[in-house]
Symmetry: C2
Subunit: 418 residues, 2 copies
Amino acid sequence: MEDVFAEIITIGDEILYGQITDTNSQWIGKELGKIGFRIIRKVSVGDKREEIISALEQAEARASVIIMTGGLGPTKDDITKKTIADYVGDELVLNQEVLENIKHIFKVRNREMNDLNRSQAYIPSRAQVLMNTLGTAPGMWIEHNNKILVSLPGVPHEMKKIMNETALPQLSTAFPTPYIHHVMIKTIGIGESRIAPMIEGWENNLPPYIKLAYLPRLGQVRLRLTGVGPDKESIVSQVEEQAKALVKIIEKYVYAYDNEEVESTVGKLLLQKKHTLATAESCTGGRVADKITDIAGCSTYYLGGIVAYSNQVKIDQLGVDKETIERYGAVSEQTAKEMAEKVRLKYGADYGISTTGVAGPGGGTAEKPVGTVYIAVADEKGTEVKKLNLSEDRQVNIRLTYSAVLDLLRMRLLEQAS
Amino acid sequence: MEDVFAEIITIGDEILYGQITDTNSQWIGKELGKIGFRIIRKVSVGDKREEIISALEQAEARASVIIMTGGLGPTKDDITKKTIADYVGDELVLNQEVLENIKHIFKVRNREMNDLNRSQAYIPSRAQVLMNTLGTAPGMWIEHNNKILVSLPGVPHEMKKIMNETALPQLSTAFPTPYIHHVMIKTIGIGESRIAPMIEGWENNLPPYIKLAYLPRLGQVRLRLTGVGPDKESIVSQVEEQAKALVKIIEKYVYAYDNEEVESTVGKLLLQKKHTLATAESCTGGRVADKITDIAGCSTYYLGGIVAYSNQVKIDQLGVDKETIERYGAVSEQTAKEMAEKVRLKYGADYGISTTGVAGPGGGTAEKPVGTVYIAVADEKGTEVKKLNLSEDRQVNIRLTYSAVLDLLRMRLLEQAS
């Protein structure tokens, strides 16, 4: 089997000028990787005819499959469809099936259809329609110069549905590919250059078809193992074996795998133990609760929490002793400790966790500069408090604090499991 | 003045395979746009020598400025620096200034330096160092074939600091550019194809150097006006005039401008009125609080909130009547109403807002399928409840609910202002 190369093109001035985050190309890259395609390049161009054509020509020289998103809306700044038709030497014709779908959508939404909506039913005559049941812009599959060109609407949930229902299955059938297996190992609390010498011996013994990459991120380093081979079973088991050997070396720094975040690891541990959790947040302002409730099914172990932003709320609603705040300050070891303990008792949870700190940009003092944060975990055996010295950036501080407090809880849950 | 074209290249297999979100290219695009550069293309390639070289060659054919990020870490999967040196016909030499910076960083962090760290001080001999005070991988500025190549580390906060401190100021000086002014107008509750005919008359009268683009997004449509001209003052005032005229036509759908989200609009209105807010969340699980507290200075108007995930917490902590939940269900108009009212009273806030719904994937019934959500806003004059019928996707439901409840509050604040 030969490698199948794919290229992703996203269209829109708003992507070039950073007015939106291009999550489409990320998602598509991940999905194509899963079915064994090699992604050769990702390109974003503006809503300009000559740029779209140049990107298509260059992609065709490199890849067998080109996936494009964006530029299919009803309004006049969208020129993709006409450009694609010209590029493949075709013309736009009214597609009855697409028109019916648009009519249906307007009927369900109880809205009046206009000429702009009707124009969305015109597609290149040779294109196979990839039906978009969630919106009015159709997906298209076009074969040209022995390459496959898939054009999809830019609205993420529409694009994903079309990919999952038709484009990905058709691509899998058209190109049987060597199997690619990734394992991502996520570590926290250790830097890239400290990990490297620890795992050098293991790394030097990797077979040539399994590669290691370091992906550093705010306070964390992720290690990605990628194996490529003709036999799915063999490559999966080899990569998993290597991952296990790697984890053994750096065990205490590993907090999650693959798409998991620390909140899913914590969720699984709580589920296993049939224990419950409550949160008391100051500087994270709801981020911890938000991340915990991103996990479907969290209602089994997560009872709820308090966002105690003002001191009055900390005292009246959470029950922190007024004197504690007056004597030590809202940002202190003592307040963090009481917050975790009080929320645990108040909510009748097995674990209570808390955050309090100076997220910034304002509120810093010489003694407690921006970035000073306390986190705590309380259970029936006691309370552990940790001080963090973070950055000057509010967003960075919120993110680091949320992952640190969930990691503190993870460590506590692990200790008690062993 | 001629247009200055820039291209952005991000390097890393993890970007191609969607294992990380490429926020660097988004941020760089936005910043280059602000200093008047035209972004011609964004490209992501893997950690492969020949791909990096091909991307550089193609970028050089299109752009005067090439900004690259990634591939500068200490470990062996990073080959960017050597590839750049070869590409510009140069060799890597030890740079004393960079070495001192690395030593300093290790000293401050109280960690041992190793050979991998030392290797980061090698850079192409012709490169100007763009000092990275936050990390060990240096930024580099290289002139080649009359083009400028800027290579930056991939860690976002390091990259941003180098851009802000040295690369952007140097680029502004090197290329005086025509001024580009953007205004983004964000609407909610109306579709692209309904806006288009409403504003057609206005759009047809736009001067040729001011362009309109539609950027649809989950439940929202953003309208971007872009003006380009030699004179800053004139282009800014013309774009702002046109934006004002546009907003007049669609006023009640406009919820925010530019980088603002609905939470900043709401924050400003609350600040103006010197009013306070408390939140009671079920299905959004803290997202509303999290978004409100993303805004620096929110402690002036945001007191805090309750994440009432379990019914027991809704009853015991929030004070919702047990009978209300038993008779109407936790997902009901009545429960949403009580949640908003109770949190307002409990926290002594001027406004209370609430969310309760079936976010999914579990928990749906025939009567209340996944996507059924109630939101409410309470103040001293009364409580407004709204029912939403959203999607089957948990993440989509959380996002739509958070923006809907903040928009409901925004409308209430506006009504009372008028």
